[in-house]
Symmetry: C2
Subunit: 132 residues, 2 copies
DNA sequence: TTCATTTTTGCAAAAATTTGCAAAAAAATA
DNA sequence: TATTTTTTTGCAAATTTTTGCAAAAATGAA
């Protein structure tokens, strides 16, 4: 299954990549490098995790996000699972939101000549509690 | 001028913050920490630049973005200057784009109870040249 | 102003992320 | 399948970013 997904993106199929993708999919929430390193089945070097994720992110399979906590987070968004977040800059709490700009992408591709593969969209602010 | 902008956001007014903000404004393009360190008038420690920028970014004065080059970039968007980018994941070339989601923010604030201060929106893909 | 309180800064150290290079694994070709 | 070529991985080292703590600067109240 993950094998198929990776192949379809034209990436080389490696056990580590499958392992990482499965780990992200099973956990259903943003994981940081250290989480992934602990949860993955195969023992793998940290630099391998970084490099594998870079490939998966560039291809659009994995969503990378920066919650401004000093570490990056990664998620696998399966069918219809694509979403973004709103994050409190004070308490770091975050929630999923369901607005996105996808609809504008086809015309943007036409205008720029780019083939769009991925995007980041995150909103920062103060949550109800921290506003007080 | 920069003094006023900083004060209006309710931040403490320091010479370093003014210096950083002026530097970003004058240069009119995304700068990385090292650029800022070199261009700034006052000698200041790298950690001070990081920390000052964090405050400026959280307040919404400065736009922080990750072009996936291994370093962060910072921009000051003055009046009507707010914009985002489309970035080629292969050659790292980037262009400004003029689409944004701001219009959705008021209703999102109402729905979530957050006071939105800043956001990230960046699009990645393959440029015309790298597609070949 | 002056003094007390809070926030910022510099420095050194820690943590996160990237990179070069040789060995291992995967893909392409025969 | 065997062989060659290309890509990925592990390891060590480099670079970028974050953090704790004491001193310096900014803020707020007399």
């Amino acid at each position: 299954m993950y094998e198929k997904i990776i192949k379809e993106k034209g990436l080389s199929l490696t056990k580590k990549r499958v392992d990482i993708l499965r780990t992200l999919d099973i956990n259903k929430k943003p994981l940081m490098i250290d989480d992934i390193k602990k949860k993955v089945k195969t023992k793998m070097d940290t630099s391998t995790i970084y490099r594998s994720l870079k490939v998966l992110v560039d291809s659009g399979l994995v969503y990378q996000t920066d919650f401004r906590e000093g570490v990056s987070y990664f998620e696998f968004h399966g069918e219809n699972g694509h979403h973004h977040h709103i994050i409190c800059t004070t308490c770091k709490k975050r929630e999923s939101i369901d607005i996105c700009m996808d609809k504008a992408f086809p015309s943007l591709e036409k205008k720029t000549g780019y083939k769009i593969t991925n995007h980041i969209f995150e909103i920062f602010g103060l949550c109800k509690t921290c506003l007080k």
